[in-house]
């Protein structure tokens, strides 16, 4: 059975671009437009990996969603790939190794999204 990826991002075109790439790579893709609906989808769809945008309705909505996922026993083991342009925008520098405690995500992916990198990152972080 194909692995399922949930994309939580409010940019419809970006979601479509990622959906096309991921479906071509053999993944099932579901999406949600904001954090709240994202959390509902995690419960109802139980995805194998979550791609989460940092900036949605607020500058750091993605961070809060990530914390909520990690606090919920049922879903806390789902790998999270954080989608970010924040690294360039506010001067935040992310390093998943160093900031693991600070930010409970498994990987970072920078916008604009390179399709090959996207597939690589999803492939590396999704559990077999």
């Amino acid at each position: 059975m194909a692995k399922k990826v949930l994309i939580i991002d409010d940019d419809f075109d970006l979601v479509e671009a990622m959906r096309i790439t991921l479906e071509a790579a053999g993944y099932d893709v579901v999406d949600a437009q904001d954090g709240e609906r994202g959390l509902e989808k995690i419960k109802s769809e139980s995805p194998d990996l979550i791609i989460l945008d940092v900036m949605m309705t607020s500058m750091d909505e993605g961070f809060h969603v990530a914390y909520k996922i990690r606090e919920d026993a049922d879903i806390k083991d789902t790998p999270i790939v954080m989608l970010t342009a924040v690294g360039n925008q506010t001067g935040f520098q992310f390093d998943p190794g160093k900031d693991a405690d600070f930010l409970p995500v498994d990987a970072f992916l920078e916008k604009p999204v390179n399709p090959k990198k996207l597939v690589d990152v999803v492939h590396q972080n999704i559990k077999a």
């Binding site: 075109d13 671009a17 990622m18 790439t21 342009a85 925008q89 001067g91 520098q93 604009p112 999204v113």
Partner: protein
């Protein structure tokens, strides 16, 4: 003190500066007085008793000025009312002593009465409007008092110069007195008028300046939001283009692939430009700055090692020299990284293959000084002042490398300023350039 208008000209700071200034001026007056007494003694003009008394006045003034100085230095916090009293006290005391000096040098015979004039000018500079009139009134009272006392025989007139005997003729005295009064009042009016006008212009300038700053801030805020808002859609456009290219694969028409690649390249350039524009306004919003304690040496080491692959590609030598000390600094790591990444990547870009680039860090007085030196093409002297301007690229840089926004050094300048530092360039065309960044640090206790 409602007498004192609430303008920058009458802030506690400027009143304090005037206090120091007045004390400084008084040293010159004391020096002048002593020189005068010695001179008069040498040319044997004036009665010796009178000259000795003048010297005593000089010593009294010296003692007073030392007291004023001690008071001004000892006290850290001043209330406005205290300062006003202090300054007035000094001025009144000065005028009183000057009157004594005038008496000692022959009252209406004495040319020292001219010195009243600059006390009135001083009063109009130090205090607001009405004070210079008050002081001219005080001067007139002191002078008239002196003349009256002498003429009522309570006080004996000193004949400074034997040949001069104006005192007998009351018409002459009244004439002198009248000219004196007019001189003092006109002086007060003129001095007060000029300083008042000067203050008005200054206040106007300050208001204009404040407005300009506000406008500039609005502009920067607009820049920042605009560049952020534009970056998101362009980034999505690039993501989509990359997906299309990826899906088309290698089978597609080469022209289409080339077209897509060019489009992706152009979106990258635009994103780069928008990033630069955002960087240019970095730190405008307090909450954005992230000042922290860091080791400048470690930061530079990591920047140099990040830049290494680029210099290796051009077979250049890129070296970092620094003492082993950590060079503890309180700064914004991200902004500092941008400063030195920019300078080093410029050096790599504009230096020929197998050239040399040196980065050094040292402590000079209360500054950390970072130098980025290359033996590249250099910058002509005529262009050195322009390179920090926004969007400016030297013709040679343009010829050498076509892309580039011309914002890099403007960003560097901005980030250096954010740390209260300074940047300079030394360059000889054809021989290389040195960019020197000075970052002031505070000694840790």
């Amino acid at each position: 003190m409602t007498l004192f208008p609430d303008t920058p000209a009458f802030s506690i700071g400027s009143m304090l500066r005037r206090d120091r200034w007045l004390i400084r001026l008084r040293w010159y007056a004391i020096l002048g007085l002593f020189i005068g007494v010695i001179l008069l003694k040498t040319i044997q003009l004036g009665p010796p008793s009178s000259l000795n008394a003048m010297a005593i006045v000089g010593f009294i003034l010296l003692g007073l000025n030392l007291m004023y100085l001690a008071y001004a230095s000892a006290k850290k916090q001043f209330a406005m009312s205290n300062l006003v009293i202090l300054l007035n006290l000094q001025m009144v005391m000065d005028l009183f002593l000057l009157t004594i000096l005038i008496y000692l040098t022959g009252s209406e015979e004495s040319p020292l009465s001219f010195f009243y004039v600059f006390h009135i000018i001083l009063a109009s500079i130090i205090f607001p409007g009405g004070f210079s009139y008050l002081y001219s009134l005080l001067v007139i009272i002191l002078y008239s008092g002196l003349l009256l006392l002498e003429h009522s025989v309570y006080v004996e007139h000193i004949c400074f110069i034997h040949e001069l005997h104006l005192i007998g003729d009351s018409r002459v005295v009244i004439g002198i007195w009248f000219v004196f009064v007019v001189t003092m009042m006109v002086s007060a009016y003129l001095a007060q008028n000029v300083t008042e006008r000067h203050r008005r212009v200054r206040t106007k300038l300050e208001i204009t300046n404040q407005k300009l700053q506000e406008i500039n801030e609005t502009k920067t805020t607009f820049f920042r939001y605009a560049s952020h808002e534009m970056k998101a859609p362009i980034s999505t456009i690039q993501s989509t283009l990359m997906v299309i290219e990826d899906i088309l694969g290698t089978n597609a028409d080469e022209r289409i692939i080339n077209m897509l690649n060019r489009a992706i390249g152009r979106t990258s350039e635009t994103i780069g430009m928008l990033k630069d524009l955002a960087d240019l306004t970095y730190g405008n919003f307090q909450e954005e700055q992230q000042f922290d304690h860091l080791s400048l040496r470690e930061l530079l080491e990591s920047i140099v090692s990040d830049a290494k692959p680029n210099s290796d590609r051009k077979s250049q030598s890129l070296k970092f020299n620094s003492a082993a000390a950590p060079f503890n600094f309180f700064g914004d790591a991200d902004a500092l990284r941008k400063i030195f990444t920019n300078l080093i990547s410029n050096a790599i870009r504009y230096t020929h293959e197998s050239g040399n680039i040196q980065v050094s860090l040292e402590k000079i007085d209360l500054n950390y000084v970072v130098k980025v030196t290359d033996d590249g093409q250099g910058i002509p002297a005529s262009e050195q002042t322009n390179i920090f301007k926004e969007f400016y690229r030297t013709p040679t840089a343009r010829k050498l490398i076509s892309e580039g926004t011309g914002l890099g050094l403007a960003i560097v300048m901005r980030m250096v300023e954010l740390h209260g530092g300074d940047i300079q360039v030394d360059s000889l065309e054809g021989q290389g350039s040195t960019f020197t960044v000075q970052l002031p640090f505070e000694e840790e206790l």
